[in-house]
């Protein structure tokens, strides 16, 4: 952690800058599945760069 005047810098995590830091109360936000792996749409999309198939859970 470094201090420059009023500015406190930390290398811990790339949160960014904050004033009156937000409460720390993390939650896991699982990535949702929005494209079927073998659907026609996913196959057509794959022709244009591939369709990513999300997995439930982070």
């Amino acid at each position: 952690m470094t201090v420059e005047g009023n500015v406190v810098k930390s290398d811990a995590e790339l949160v960014g800058e904050s004033l009156f830091a937000l409460p720390v109360a993390p939650m896991v936000m699982p990535t949702q599945v929005l494209e079927r792996q073998h659907s026609i749409v996913a196959r057509i999309a794959s022709m244009f760069g591939g369709a990513r198939v999300g997995k439930a859970g982070n």
């Binding site: 009023n6 500015v7 406190v8 810098k9 930390s10 811990a12 995590e13 790339l14 949160v15 960014g16 800058e17 904050s18 004033l19 009156f20 830091a21 937000l22 409460p23 720390v24 109360a25 993390p26 939650m27 896991v28 936000m29 699982p30 990535t31 949702q32 599945v33 929005l34 494209e35 079927r36 659907s39 026609i40 749409v41 999309a45 794959s46 244009f48 760069g49 591939g50 369709a51 990513r52 999300g54 982070n58």
Partner: protein, 611 residues
Amino acid sequence: MGPRRVSLAVTQGVRTVALVLSIGIGLSAGALFLQYGSGDGLQATDWIRSALIILSTFWLAWGAIQGLIGLGFLRTVTEQPGWMRGEGPAVQGTTAILVPVYNEEPMPVLARVAAMDASLAALGVQDKFHFAVLSDTRKEDVAAQEREWFLHLVRERGAEGRMFYRRRASNPGKKAGNIEDFFQRSGGAYDYALILDADSLMEGATILEMARRVEADPQLGLLQSLPKVIEAESRFGRAMQFSASFFSPAFARGLGVMQGRTGPFWGHNAMVRVKAFVESCGLPVLAGDPPFGGHIMSHDYVEASLLARAGWTVRLDEDLEGSFEEGPENIVDHAKRDRRWCQGNLQHSRLVMAPGLKPWSRFVFVQGILAYIAPLFWLGFMATSIAAILLAPRPDYFPDPYGQLFPFFPHNDAAKAIELAIGIFGLLLLPKLMIGLQAAWSGRAHGFGGGSTAIRSTIVELMFSSVIAPVMLMFQTRSVMQVLLGLDSGWPTNNRGDGTLGMQEAWAASRWIAFTGLIGLVLVWWLTPPLVAWLLPVGLPMLFAPQIISWSSRKSGEAALGAHKLFTVPAELAPSPVILAWKHILEAWSAPEPEAVATEPAPAAGTLVHA
């Protein structure tokens, strides 16, 4: 509490009736057109045009029916409900009010926060509502101002521990990523979150009532309010403001009745249950490059559908007064915003078949796509009509050369075409006229300057929207073509503030429309002179697009007329207290002492942390 709820059976019944009616009207229009086209025998172009008419008319009918259904279910509120005075049960849960910002001018944004906080404090509930300013600002000078004004805000409101500022080091996922980042780091500290835009402004009583309604219904995952546009000054802006205030409640009510538990999320001025949102709304990054791949742009529709998929109720309560936003002041800014929305909606084509979505959610995606491609149907219809005349076979007056004494003249079914045109205009005009008449009859027009002013505003709005429609159609067509060609719109900052455009700017933005209109009219006149008269309502506004854009971006100069001013809205006649408070704060903050703000030492707790 809240608007009159309808049962699932009513929702399904209304949906079915609306869909059947819309399809019926579309098919009737197509059949009428075929009758018209059969005068000289049916050609391929007649079938194509008929199909285009069916699609376009279905879309118009769907919108019109939605408005009429809403009118049927709309309640005219004659007295202020108790919740608007803060009456109602106490709220147990804590709410985070999220204010995402992205390069906007900080002072007006944070003055809104101050006004909303003051409004909550007046009800004595400010401790239950925390503000989190979530900055994705990339311009360092703007970020520096954000910090200065934020410290000023916290000091003025005595809000240490209730107001927070965070600026992301980078901004993946744009607004959706910004909100998601908040939930992932701090979501566990809150029960509900009110998601705003930088230009959102809400009454404390409305925020409190939304928290009450979410708390009262454990299945409610998201509650959307119907924000009214405020602070418009230009002719275009005021027409939009009037439209949003006068017509939108009926259309929103219609939408609400048809959507049932699968309601909309418009990205702001909505409250979510944190648990529901976090569990259901983690958005994937779509493979491939934008515009169809990458981060999901119109994330709000997707989040609403994901909440519904997970079994949560998503609801629009259009009775929630005291919810405001600002709108674009000119057609060019509107088109820029529309370009972004167009890309986002067309990207939904990849999600229509997403697993497990409610059928209505899929239909909403299709509707969003149709909203942008429907203008192309009209354009296609016009192009095919020109082709039809060029390709039409020569009339054969003696089809039977041996047994015919007198010439055979093809039927002239122009009356059918006129009937069709009247029907289509009816679909466009009827809902708005009905809303105007209902307002005059029920007394709702009182807030819009009285019955005669409201009717006058309705008629002028209809004329104005008809004139600008071809210009909008061209901008929309360009947006769709750009998306289909794979061009990404990026994430431009919304222009907020005075949007007056001179002729030079308007010309630069729309000369391509004027040239297209000119070339189109000359071509039609040269190739098929009889069509010119039919195309003038479209061609002339295109030809004069720069003039229309510049003229409509200016102030109307009707201020002297007071309450009888065209496009008067309740927010002008009796501004909501939070609007007055915001203006008062803005005035005080604009007083010549910003240097003092910039040089005052920050309170210890307000230390800027780069984490």
